[in-house]
């Protein structure tokens, strides 16, 4: 008896300790980024591109090119990935495909989700070189799209799986075709989950550096066409973190990234809650 309560107490202490470690480390990271980021953030930082440094003069300017680059890459990539993702997710439902095959495809998507993003970078780089292109917004966008497809598809898939069978049967019994049922009924019912999936993909895409490191290249100027290379927030941080003079820009970029992630996360929570009202349980 005594040993049993003792064991419980011991583990409870360990649990509280673990939670403290987790929360503590996360608070520290947030704190560091917010404190350092907020202090280096200024109007100049978000409205100007980097000025090349003159010897003896600290480099100035801002990170506008990275902000623009990130948005130019991640937004369209998320859009494409969502379009493709919703198609596949709907197709994976049993109406279209034998469960055996859809499970195989799900497994492949899971592996694709799991493989390191650098592999997508390498993959696109290889293709890019072999067709004679150079690093550009377009290639980076493709890399991000590929990276986001499995994430978005599987999240949507899980959301659509939750749609009650009766609802589908109801639609079919009214004479709807598979496609009509999929796109009108299921999509609407699973909307919050689908939206959450898209936002998850956006969050991952906008923060990923490894896949666009080689494919989008780097530039201190604002891009003017799809074939220009561009800086992004993550690659900006990666390029500047080790140079003492660049660290304020790195922190400003990190701060903006963190805010984007935060907004995306809060948004997905709010939207999910809002749209849940229209859902038939």
């Amino acid at each position: 008896m005594n040993r049993r309560t003792l064991e419980e107490r011991l583990f409870k202490i360990l649990m509280v300790g673990s939670v403290c470690i987790v929360i503590g480390s996360l608070v520290v990271i947030f704190g560091l980024v917010v404190i350092n980021g907020a202090s280096s953030l200024s109007i100049e930082m978000i409205t100007q591109t980097p000025r090349p440094s003159v010897p003896g003069d600290p480099p100035g300017g801002g990170i506008l090119n990275a902000i623009v680059g990130s948005l130019l890459l991640a937004l369209p990539a998320t859009g494409f990935a969502s379009l493709i993702g919703i198609g596949i997710a709907l197709f994976l439902q049993n109406d279209f495909l034998h469960p055996r095959y859809s499970d195989i495809i799900r497994f492949m998507l899971d592996v694709l989700w799991g493989i390191p993003s650098i592999i997508y970078g390498i993959f696109c780089l290889m293709i890019m070189i072999s067709i004679g292109m150079s690093s550009s917004i377009l290639v980076g966008m493709i890399a991000l799209t590929l990276l986001e497809i499995p994430i978005i598809t599987r999240s949507m898939d899980e959301a659509i799986k939750m749609v009650p069978k009766g609802l589908k049967e109801g639609a079919y019994s009214l004479g709807s075709t598979k496609i009509e049922t999929a796109f009108r009924v299921i999509r609407r019912q699973a909307f919050p989950g689908i939206l959450a999936g898209i936002l998850l993909g956006l969050g991952r895409g906008i923060g990923d550096a490894a896949s666009i490191l080689f494919t989008a290249g780097f530039s201190n100027r604002l891009p003017t066409s799809l074939f220009d290379s561009t800086a992004t927030l993550p690659t900006m941080i990666y390029n500047l973190y080790s140079t003492p003079l660049g660290q304020s820009k790195a922190f400003a970029a990190a701060f903006i990234l963190l805010m984007i992630v935060l907004i995306v996360s809060v948004l997905s929570r709010l939207l999910t809650r809002r749209f849940k009202k229209h859902i038939i349980k």
Partner: protein, 297 residues
């Protein structure tokens, strides 16, 4: 009526095509990496590549042993820290924490899972590394610049926390109350119930969570690259700088296009990354299926 049927047909076929394309991506990546890494395998045996620790591209030597050892050390050490801490935190949050804490902590963890790795890397480089250099390494009687295997493992474990925790919370939450009641009502304490019933019933999901955590730690490129120091030598302690498979690719990408053999060697590294992740997923998939069959609740 006819146009509806036609639309149905066209729609179905389009969806099929898209699905096939994405599924084939999996094979495309594999084939491309394989074909690109053949060059280095023609002149070097796979044994030599895997077990030699000399990496000297200029001399045509591509031994990966040191990098593989570093990768195992970093990933293993990160998971060794992350798994118990995450499991204990998750169980605390679900079973022990007061309701208000439980509700506030979950969105927080979701946000953390979404923080880009480059942000973790930045913090690790500027704050963790000096701390390791000045406090932790001297404490263990070692000298270190702070850019070392230990720092990489620590930051990786922090990155893995939210992944394992949120998946575990989900699966612990899904355990029916009645199952816990069944255990409690024969006089088990809460901890005994957690240990013998909750952990067992959610074993498949715990395994899945750990595998996902592994995937993240194993393939993490940027954050590791920023703090590991980038030295290719067999490490003698955790406070030595190193290089992992993924971070090697990021470090050397600038030279990718210069020497064909070097490029091919890096492709081989990418191929190894791909295969290992794939094998772990298969492993996870099989254990999951087995466990699910065996312990239904």
């Amino acid at each position: 009526m006819n146009t509806r049927k036609l639309r149905d047909l066209i729609g179905t076929k389009t969806l099929l095509l898209i699905t096939l394309f994405v599924s084939s991506l999996f094979f495309l990546i594999f084939i491309l990496l394989l074909s690109r890494s053949l060059l280095v395998l023609e002149s070097h045996s796979i044994i030599e590549v895997l077990f030699s620790s000399i990496w000297n591209p200029d001399a045509g030597q591509f031994g990966l042993a040191a990098i593989i050892v570093d990768t195992i050390l970093v990933t293993g050490f990160a998971l060794l820290i992350a798994i118990p801490i995450s499991l204990l935190s998750a169980i605390y949050i679900v079973e022990y924490a007061p309701r208000r804490l439980r509700k506030t902590i979950r969105p927080f963890i979701d946000v953390l899972a979404g923080v880009p790795s480059v942000v973790y890397g930045l913090c690790a480089f500027l704050f963790l590394a000096p701390f390791v250099q000045n406090v932790i390494a001297p404490f263990f009687g070692a000298q270190s610049t702070g850019l070392c295997i230990f720092s990489a493992a620590i930051i990786l474990s922090i990155m893995v926390f939210p992944i394992i925790i949120s998946l575990c919370i989900e699966s612990f939450d899904a355990i029916p109350l009645s199952l816990k009641e069944a255990s409690l009502s024969v006089g088990a304490t809460k901890w005994e119930t957690v240990k013998k019933v909750v952990f067992r019933a959610s074993a498949p999901s715990i395994i899945a969570a750990i595998l996902l955590g592994f995937g993240r730690a194993f393939g993490e490129t940027i954050a590791v690259n920023m703090v590991i120091g980038g030295t290719i030598r067999l490490p003698s302690s955790l406070f030595n700088p190193g290089e992992t498979l993924a971070s090697l690719i990021a470090s050397k990408y600038g030279e990718l296009m210069s020497i064909p053999l070097h490029e091919s060697a890096l492709m081989l590294v990418a191929l190894i990354l791909f295969i290992v992740v794939f094998l772990f997923y298969i492993l996870g998939f099989l254990t999951l299926r087995r466990a699910k069959k065996r312990w239904k609740y």
